[in-house]
Symmetry: C3
Subunit: 421 residues, 3 copies
């Protein structure tokens, strides 16, 4: 997964344009199967919004009077404000400063700045670099194009036994940033690979790679009714690459099946995970949870967008993320999916506790302590009363779902358990 | 408001009598409109109670053998037990002590004592003064009258767009005490003045000035059915004059609309406010919340009755209360009323987040931090799903109702919001 | 009660056999009335289980080559593994060790070991004693009999005004142990004596003395339907003899009427009581709360089984329990039963607060502090709105049920209260 991040890192993505297309092609290669690529024309009405013009950029730089490049888009694509109009102009230091953005509270970082819906141009550099610029005549060049075109997104559908769906959404619209961008589509692609290989899937999986906000709105405008009828749980994958913590962002009321699975899995996998209320949302869960949309979508992150210092600057780079960080997130999402796949209610087939001993499931001699060995099974049975689903039982008895799956297998083998579908 | 307290302070009020009438006249002057004055004859049955005889008093004193007045009703009307029968008698020190009440744990304070329902007489003085009295022959005089008469109360009705009512109750039955008595009717009168000037009122306002307990019972016995059908929220105004804290006394189960408004407003206005359960009640919320009465009435106080040392003694005087204390309570009640007036559900008119930028409500350039500026509006929209009323949204997103009213205005202006009536 | 424990202590009980019968005879003597004795034949199917063979034992010992008895069943019946087959054999030290159980973490205690469902034999001794045994030839003898017979249990039914039942279950199947065994049947027997003497009982009382687990399962297999239809609350009596604490073990969801009564009584009687979730269950509440059985049964213990060091060893002896310990448990169960007997809803007969003064129930003179004297009555009235039962009111106003019974009596006497049946 980390390697894929490395390959994707240099590409200049934005909410539209060839960077998105190139990114999707790389994901197709790794996924090894088809990804449906959709192109939505500029000007398409999507709810309250309109698909914007398509933006592409060839090069951009600022040169001083000696012909030295002060900054160059080739070195870091954050140097250009996203959706900048073309420009080719000589300016003095004062005018230069009027079109340069910095992050004064992080003076050595280049900020990430965009202006999607107001046409303008601009450059980004570190505050330190800007402070050192002498009076001079600067040549500012952006060779970009903003034109009628389309918004591009990718969509994978992996069918299951039912048409009920688990929905994974991630975004491909940020230029060279690692945790807040690449970790999301990369983990999503590897989850898709794994899901595709499963011999049996209860649910259908829908995994989309979209530009943030406008992409989610576009996707919803085309699929809302179907999604409302079929999605039983969904997750927004973003910031799943670093190794510092785990975070959980609640859905609008924190009470969906997705929240339930996320909280359950994290409580065992990483008990110190941070919980953020929906007031701390910031990615596409904003759209999925909007009034009237009402999809059961929450988010599990490592260090959450907006909550780590490198966020939306040049410091969110490949050093920030790690193979371990990506893998941890991948495993947590795997466990969420396995929890959902197996989240049935169960009912024990006998009245009173079953005699496990005669089935070889209970120690035959009773002394202090012998009971502990089978406590998980006994506790599972106690709450397998048909009123709790598997995640409920896991929460009540404090045992992870994957451990309970072993118990279920043993009990089903000796015909003591019925799954309530 | 403080001035009005000063004017009302000297009057000797009790649960009946001319002190009540004189007090109501002064309130009419300040209110500037009519207050309906009701007289309920002695002997009228009111639920389990009977309206008592009317009590009036001209003078009262204790004189020593040298003709010096030990205490005089003219100096402080707390010196006489409320509802004392007339007496004119010479007694020795021992007999004197048998009719004098003191507050031994506050030896320099004159306690406030009444005996409404058992005919007797008595005097009150400080423990210190009593301890210094020498053996002597004392002349004890109370020139009072207990006779068939009536119980007097006042009632203001300010009509609104609907017959649904907000109910404010306060009492006028205590002699010279400031926080526990005068602050209540004074703040209520000024709230009535303000309500009367509003150009638009959703609710009808009913504000009553009654003697405590027997007055509330009398009022309920005449109006219960109507009140049960029309009152959506009510407050008992008492002890709203000092500047030490804010207190909130729950209704019987703490779950009425009045409680909801009170808790919401106080949580922003004075987050350190004290909450008292209904077990700590003590004023007319006792009657309004009685089983079968079941009105949605709670109380907001400054220092609550029974919880501050000066309570029911001569120390609860004009020095205890202040213009700031009165104003604070007035403002909190105003905000409760405004919250109730505007407490509709709202629903956003578009699916997904609206594009605020094109309406000038969102920054056009996106960089870290720019989102914060419109966070209140975005959060309001996220919960404007028709299932929450305004106070709910205020509680969820942690923003006071009056700040949300500005947001609502902006959103209604650009047609993004629908009020659900 | 302590005396009865002393008499019962030496008997060698197991889940079947003459020890159980002898124990029941002694309880009949003390109870002074009939106890229904049931015998269920070996081989009877009881849900998922089968009633085992009956076990009786005459003597057992280990003798060294000098004819000295190393251990003797006569000294302590824990020396033999429960349900041991007969044996008479000479063995060397190594073979001896293979049939001896010890409790290594409590080296001076003899553990309590059983093997009901796998035929074998064994001895128990302290680790210390075992460690000192020299190489020798040992004569090991168990003169026991395992044969077709029956499982014995006792049942008391004390009829009340209704067929609704309160269910008490306790067990008689452990050999010489005091807190975990004898305290249970002894306290249950004395509760039965007391219940039998009551002039009026709202509920019918069913008190059973059974072997743990297999007895509960056997009893349920014969009575389940009737119990499900009639039991409104039940308690498992176990470990009610020592004086160190009180413990409460929740029913499966902690929300039955039995839980409600237990929590209420303990909160006043012993506020520092320990709460154990159902995950910490271990006695017959396991069967009563099994899925499909679903009886409203919880447990109140002193030091709970499994939670005190002497548990299931020779140290759980008559020194561990005390008359005070037994009495405390007896009183708590009495109060639970009285709470249930009186747990009606009540409704005050007047609107607004009643005038208690005219009925001699309220001080006639009002001064700071006088209100406190009648606060319990006033608070009771405030919540006597027909929606709360007596235990609810006790919880809300923080006053024990037995104190409220006095208030109810006073209010009923003056016709102010109606009981809602």
């Amino acid at each position: 997964m980390y390697e894929l991040c490395e390959r994707l890192f240099p590409i200049c993505r934005s909410i539209t344009g060839d960077g998105v297309r190139k990114t999707l092609q790389m994901l197709v290669e790794v996924y090894g199967n088809e990804i449906n690529i959709h192109e939505v024309p500029t000007g398409t009405k999507v709810f309250d919004w309109t698909v914007p013009k398509e933006w592409n950029i060839k090069e951009a730089y600022i040169e001083n009077s000696k012909g030295q490049r002060v900054i160059d888009f080739k070195n870091n694509n954050l140097h250009v404000v996203g959706y900048s109009l073309p420009v080719d102009k000589f300016v003095d230091l004062q005018e230069l400063k009027s079109v340069v953005y910095t992050q004064p509270d992080q003076p050595d970082a280049i900020p990430y700045v965009t202006s999607y819906y107001k046409e303008c141009y601009g450059f980004c550099m570190s505050q330190n670099q800007l402070d050192k610029l002498p009076e001079d005549t600067y040549h500012i060049v952006i060779d970009s194009e903003l034109k009628e075109g389309s918004l591009t997104y990718g969509e994978i559908i992996i069918p299951g036994d039912t048409e009920e769906e688990v929905f994974l959404s991630t975004y491909i619209c940020h230029p060279s940033m690692a945790n807040n961008e690449l970790s999301g589509p990369v983990v999503a692609t590897f989850l898709a690979k794994w899901l595709n290989l499963l011999v049996k899937r209860r649910y259908t999986y829908r995994i989309i790679f979209i530009p943030e906000t406008i992409g989610a709105i576009t996707y919803l405008s085309k699929n809302l009714q179907y999604l409302k009828e079929h999605v039983i749980a969904g997750f927004n994958l973003s910031c799943v690459g670093d190794n510092r913590t785990f975070s959980y962002v609640e859905s609008r009321y924190g009470d969906t099946l997705a929240d339930k699975a996320a909280k359950n899995v994290l409580s065992f996998y990483y008990p110190d995970y941070k919980t953020y209320s929906f007031l701390k949302r910031g990615s596409d869960e904003r759209q999925y949870n909007a009034p009237g949309v009402d999809l059961p979508v929450c988010a599990i992150c490592r260090s959450k967008y907006g909550e780590y210092p490198e966020y939306h600057t040049s410091k969110d780079n490949l050093e920030l993320i790690s193979p371990e960080g990506l893998l941890g997130a991948y495993e947590v999402y795997q466990q969420c999916i396995l929890s959902l796949e197996n989240n049935y209610s169960y009912k024990i087939n006998v009245l009173c506790e079953p005699q496990l001993g005669k089935r070889g499931l209970y120690p035959t001699t009773s002394q202090k302590g012998t009971y502990d060995a089978v406590k998980v099974m006994i506790d599972f049975i106690a709450y397998a009363d048909g009123s709790n689903d598997l995640i409920d039982i896991s929460n009540i008895i404090g045992v992870p779902v994957n451990e309970l799956l072993t118990v279920i297998e043993k009990l089903e083998k000796v015909d003591l358990l019925t799954r309530c579908d």
